[in-house]
Structures are given as structure tokens and as C-alpha cells.
Symmetry: C2
Subunit: 440 residues, 2 copies
């Protein structure tokens, strides 16, 4: 017998889980559409040359690679065995997509992508090897209006699926770079330094210090760097949002844009409050984000009751150039759809999303020859908006069948007998359902 | 520079294409839901042991295989290089899914699956290496009510997306088997004989005859077989649907069930006519279908103006047993979603699916410092149901920007100037739009 267990780290979704996902997806897409975003699609499979060297950080090590086929494989014994791979995010394929189709796309392009990505990570609770991402991106717009609209749309979308208490943290890669170089690190060392700084949440200041020294950086320089980070963090907490006080050697445009983003999102706080949601947006100089491809503002949203973030994004102005040969400004925000689903399921939200339609069961004695009356009733009830199933009546175990139907939410129905008569079973179904709901 | 072309046989979808797909998907799912079907999901990636030996016919040769990772790959140099594969259909994974989760699933399970499958086929016009299938299946129901509901639901779904003139052809694998053995072939030869018979549409009777003789079967036996097929086909065309005249050595239950299916679907013809659709259902003894896993009734739907079928399915009672160790009756119907999309696009249907919402463009002079009034208007218009974009006003090329917005369907808007005043551009947008629609 072949095992029925899904492949390692992969999973099957039950009807109720899919219903929650479909409910959330429809709500989120509706909000994004009102911001002018339209859905696009790229294939799950990309040439490896697209995925490798995409500055995707650790994710590039986790690519599921696809074996060459036929003659290509026979010819490959000394070289690469694989030529294709499953996408590990939706951003790298989007950059390729834009370069491929830009002449046929609106300018700027406001794209929604929702779909699976794959990473050959060590599976653990809540982390799967196939998972869904839900991204919006604005391609071809260098103005901070892009960041402002991305953040507002994402908060609106998360509020629409019943989340209520948001913290938005924003930073800019150029500010991080100024902190790193001011402490005496070389620009080429910035990647390593920032990836380590990103672990602050988990390992604390002393952990970051230890790891950087362990990597061979002078203890004195590491201390100076961490002190300046702590200093700017303290000042960020204390100061107003205009960021005029930021005295690093950094493009003043970057600082002004970040201040505009914070101020503009804050302007919406009153409206969100009226809808019952609270949104706190602030400059967080310790925010790093993992990907190497970010070039400007970066941002994350977390919800009050969960430590890790629910959505993250940033500006990646250099990525499309790799495929197009010229720079196109680009900026995106990605909802961690699986984490969102975990939260909604944890809150028992699924029951609330169940369809409100009447469920009708038409049961047929096996000996009934002419099914026309049954099928006619099924069609009429469906036209009235009901969900209708037609199935044989269990001759031997009729009580069990009725009990199960009541438990599955059927509250109306009829038994069609072999002699052509029909008996209403709605009352029975509703009383069994009431009993089952009371746990009797 | 890295190439922006998608991997061989894969494709990117433009916003308009995705809109058509989303429109059709929503309509089809709505119809299926009214029949009591609920959506489920399995992962795209399966253990190769699930995909190989699944009686998937030619498709098993077309599996995209995934390279082993890390130590597993190092240890594999003499053996299999791959351990996983991308699913080539949605039926084999569904059988595994049911065996895995049956204890938590409704009985019978009415499942909808819509999602991509992959086959490393030679790409050609209209055939891609990643394509979407849309399946409904009823698992745990041996009664012909399953086939009847699957066929009715699929016709309803196709009619809902504006198709109008259907031919449903039905047959039964047991009738085919009786024809094959009556002509003197061994049961073990049936697979080869039927796969060849399936090519009748393309190569004609003489082509089938030539191929079977070429495969080493006695010319006399091949002739006898093709004569009996032609004979039963002629009688099927001439006779009424009760199939009482079928005089093969075959389970009479199979013949009765097929007659019930035909009669019950015919009972709906008047209703379909009222909705403007015509449905012709008939017994076609030459219908084979490619997969080896079918065990009983098989069926296909084609639309008047297209020769090849749009949907196909059948009963596969033995498949779940491979994963569960006991037989579970199962039956499914799959819409060829890509072919359906080709038809809808060919008919220029996409324009009809465009959103009817007002599109509003708010353009902002770059020097404007306080964005609050713009963002407040955007929020208010979105709350009223409009699609609103906010973007910088092109200082140098304002005329071109307005023209492009009008072309993209924006009919209302405002320019926010640096001095805080705002100018309505709705009239301009609407007149440019009218001019653009007239091709001026």
C-alpha cells in the first residue's frame, strides 16, 4: 500500500480551512482592488538563472530544484542536474514579469499576487514547505506615495479580516547603511552586520555583540556600532515624527521621505479608530528585514497579541534592472498569509465564515426508477439560493444518515420513496441539529 | 543581464487575463457550491511514490521530478536522483487526500479542486507545461446519482460562463471491455486496444486498423473488433436511450445505470432550453478517455463550435484503495480550464467582465507637503465603492498622463496643487476617454 501522508513539510487542507482562506482572500482582494491593484500571475516554475543570484538571502539555499528531463539529463552527468526551480517568493518572479511584459502593462503597475511559494526549510510548527504569500507591489513609482498607499492598503486589508491593533515599524536601508559605515565597517561588510543585527529580537544586544565579534570584527567597533544603534533608537522613541533630528551622513531625501510616510499614515489614525482599529506607526532604526535586495524604505506590521510580524515589505529599486537593463523603481508589501490564517483559526473565526445558505438534503430510495421529481426539486431549491445535495437513502442505517446530515448543517429535506411519494424530513433534521448543537 | 522570458512552456498572465479567469472561477464555484461541493486543497508537490504507478497513462512519463536535497542527494549517486514530483492531475492527489483525512471528512465527500498541474509535454499553441484544472469529485457514493449530479453541475457551470450548446457523450469501461474481449482479445491487451481506439477522431477507422495490426494483432481480429464497434455505434445512434438493446456479455447493472444517467440528464433539457442552452446527451460506445484508472461510466462534454472536449471524467472505484487498503467508490468531472479560457478570450468576453466601478485618479504635485486632504478624499471615495489611485502628477508630461489614465478607464479625478488648491479633471478624463474609445 502506498502511504497517504503528504510529502514532508507539505499539508492537505480540510474544507473548513479552505473556507476560511477563501473568505479572507476575497476580503483582502476587495480592499486591494479599491486601491487600484489588479491581480497578475506568474508560473510556479522558473529557470534557475532567475532564482539564483536574486539577492534572496538564505532563501536561495532552500530552492526546490527540478531535475533536467530526457536528453538534457543524459548530457548533464558532469554538470548541473537541474535547470528549473520552484519560486521561493513572489517578488523575484514579479521583477522578471515586469521586464518581460512592461510594454503591455499599465504604468505604474499596481500588482496583486496571491499564490504558493516553496522553501526546503526544516519543517516545524506553523512552518510548511509550501505556503501562500499575498503581495501587493507598485512598479514604476519612485515617490513615497507608493509606500504610503502600500501601508494604508495593507492595514485596511488586515482590519477587513478582523485584526484590530497594529504596530507599523518603518526604517530605511540607507539609514542602516549610514549607521554601519559611521561605526567604521566597510560597505561590503554591511550585509553580514545587518543580518546579525536583525537577530536582536531573538538573542538581545549581547547575543548580537558576541556573534559579530565571533565573526572576526574588532570588539571596539562592534560596541561603537551597537551604542550608536541604541542611541538612535532611544532618540526615535522620544522624538516627534519629522525626523529632523537624524544627524547621520545620509541622503536627506531618504529622511524626509520616511518622515512623510510616517506623517501621512498617522493622518489616517482617526478614521481607523472610528472603525475600531488602532494603528501605531513609528521609526524603528533596528528594523532590518532579511532580503538583500531592499534599497530604501522598509516596513513591517505586527498585531498586538503576536510578537512576530504579519506583513513586511520595502523598496527594491535595483531588482528589475537585472532583467530589463534599466532601473525601475519598485516597492512591495507582503502579507504572511499562513500566519494570518493561524490567527484567524486560533480565534475560531472559521465558524463565522460558514455560508448562511439553507442546506437541503434530498434522499432517494434506491428502487425509485424515475428521478425526475427529485432532480426538479433540487433545481428549484438551488435556483432559490439553497445548497442542495441528492443522495441515496441508507436503507439499513437511516437514523445515522439523518443524524450525520443534521450535524453537517442540513436543516431541510425530503425522502423520495420507491412508490413515488415523498416525506418531509425538515422537522427531524432541525430537531436533531438543535440536539447536536447542545451536545446531546 | 538575466533573460526575462518565462521557463519553456510556462507563461505570465496579464491583468485582463487574470480578471477573466477570476470571473469564470467565481461563477463556476458558485454553481458547484449550490450542489453541495466544497473546496479542498492538496500540495503541488507529492512523493514520487504517489505519482508513479497511479495508472495515469502517458502523464506519468511527463512528471517534473524534484532533485533530492543535501545529504539525500550526496547519498544518491547510484540510485534515484529525485524523491518528489509536481502533480500531473488533481485526481491522484485527491485519492491520497481522502485516504489520509477520511475520518475528518463529510461522507460522501463532494470536493471541488481548482489549481495548477504540471506536465513536461512538448509545448505547442494552447498547450502549456503548467495549466489549471477545475475538478469536482464525489467520493464514497457508488450510486449513479453521483454521475447524474456531476454531469448536471458541470453543464450548469459551463452555461453560467456563457457557453450554450453542449454535447455530452457517455460510455462505460465495462462495455468497452466486453467489446474488446468479445472480439477475441485478452483482458491484458485491452489497455493497448483502447488507447488505439481512442485515436479514432484523429486517424479514422483505417488508421486505428493499421496501428493495431502494426502492433502485431491478427488483422482478422482487428477487423472483427472494429466492425462490432461500428455496429454498436450505429445502433446507439438509432436506438432510444433505455439501452435495453445492448446485447454484450456485460454486467446488466452497468447498462441500466448508464441508461438511468442518460434519462435523468435528459429530464433537465427543457429547463436548460429555457435558459437558452441546448444539451444533447448520448451513449457513444467509441468514447474511451486516456486514463487507465477508470472502472465504470466515463463522460465528456464538448461545445458545438469546438471539436475537442471541454470537460471529461468518469468513475474510478479502485484508486483510493491503493492508499487506504479498502475500496471506496469515486467519481469525478474535470473542466479543461485553459480551453475554457481560450474560448472566453476568443469571444472577446474579457471586456464584459471588467469591473463596473468608477475609477478615480488623484494626482499630486510633488511639492505638496501635507498629503492629508488627498488621502482623506481617497478614503472617502473608496468607501463609496470607487477604485481610487493616488500618484504624483507628471510635471513635464501632464497631457500624456491624463491621456493614459483615460485610456485605462479613469473617468473621475482631481489634481492637488502645491499651493493646497485642487482642480477637478473629471471632465477632461471623460472627454479623452470618449475620444480614445472612438479611436481618435
Amino acid at each position: 500500500m502506498t502511504s497517504a501522508i503528504p510529502a514532508k513539510g507539505m499539508r492537505d487542507l480540510l474544507p473548513g480551512q479552505v473556507a476560511t482562506r477563501d473568505w479572507a482572500t476575497a476580503r483582502i482582494l476587495e480592499v486591494y482592488a479599491s486601491y487600484g491593484f489588479t491581480r497578475i500571475e506568474t508560473p510556479a516554475v522558473e529557470n534557475l538563472s532567475v532564482l539564483v543570484g536574486a539577492q534572496g538571502g538564505e532563501n536561495e539555499k532552500l530552492i526546490f530544484k527540478i531535475l533536467k528531463r530526457g536528453e538534457k539529463l543524459s548530457a548533464a552527468d558532469s554538470g548541473e542536474l537541474a535547470d528549473l526551480g520552484l519560486r521561493f517568493d513572489l517578488t523575484v518572479p514579479l521583477a522578471r514579469y515586469y521586464a518581460h511584459l512592461h510594454a503591455s502593462l499599465p504604468q505604474p503597475l499596481r500588482a496583486i499576487q496571491i499564490g504558493p511559494v516553496w522553501r526546503a526549510d526544516q519543517p516545524q510548527k506553523g512552518r510548511y514547505r509550501q505556503f501562500t504569500q499575498c503581495d501587493i507591489d507598485i512598479l514604476g513609482l519612485g515617490s513615497p506615495l507608493a509606500e504610503i498607499e502600500l501601508i494604508r492598503a495593507t492595514v485596511d486589508a488586515l482590519a477587513e479580516v478582523t485584526l484590530r491593533s497594529f504596530t507599523v515599524r518603518v526604517n530605511d536601508r540607507r539609514i542602516l547603511m549610514a549607521l554601519v559605515t559611521a561605526a567604521g565597517f566597510a560597505e561590503a561588510e554591511a550585509g553580514t552586520v545587518l543580518v546579525t543585527l536583525d537577530k536582536m529580537d531573538k538573542v538581545g544586544v549581547s547575543g548580537v555583540q558576541r556573534e559579530l565579534v565571533g565573526r572576526g570584527f574588532p570588539a571596539e567597533r562592534v560596541s561603537a556600532f551597537l551604542t550608536s544603534v541604541a542611541e538612535i533608537e532611544k532618540r526615535a522613541m522620544a522624538n516627534e515624527a519629522d525626523l529632523g533630528w537624524v544627524d547621520l551622513r545620509v541622503d536627506r531625501g531618504a529622511v524626509t521621505a520616511l518622515a512623510t510616510i510616517i506623517r501621512s499614515v498617522r493622518a489616517d489614525q482617526a478614521t481607523w479608530s472610528q472603525g475600531g482599529a488602532s494603528v501605531d506607526i513609528r521609526f524603528d532604526p533596528t528594523l532590518v528585514r532579511g532580503m538583500g535586495y531592499y534599497t530604501g524604505p522598509i516596513f513591517e506590521i505586527s498585531e498586538a497579541s503576536y510578537t512576530s510580524s504579519i506583513a513586511g515589505g520595502g523598496r527594491y529599486d535595483d531588482m528589475i534592472g537585472r532583467f530589463l537593463g534599466r532601473t525601475v523603481p519598485a516597492c512591495g508589501f507582503s502579507i504572511g498569509f499562513e500566519r494570518l490564517m493561524d490567527i484567524l483559526e486560533e480565534r475560531g473565526a472559521a465558524a463565522a465564515f460558514a455560508s448562511a445558505r439553507t442546506k437541503v438534503a434530498l434522499l432517494v430510495d434506491e428502487a425509485l426508477e424515475d428521478l425526475t421529481p427529485v432532480l426538479t426539486e433540487a433545481r428549484a431549491r438551488r435556483a432559490d439560493g439553497a445548497v442542495v445535495i441528492v443522495e441515496p437513502r441508507h436503507a439499513k442505517n437511516a437514523g445515522r444518515q439523518i443524524f450525520q446530515l443534521a450535524k453537517d448543517g442540513f436543516t431541510d429535506g425530503r425522502v423520495y420513496r420507491a412508490d413515488g411519494t415523498a416525506e418531509d424530513i425538515g422537522t427531524t433534521l432541525r430537531s436533531k441539529r438543535a440536539a447536536s448543537a447542545e451536545g446531546v
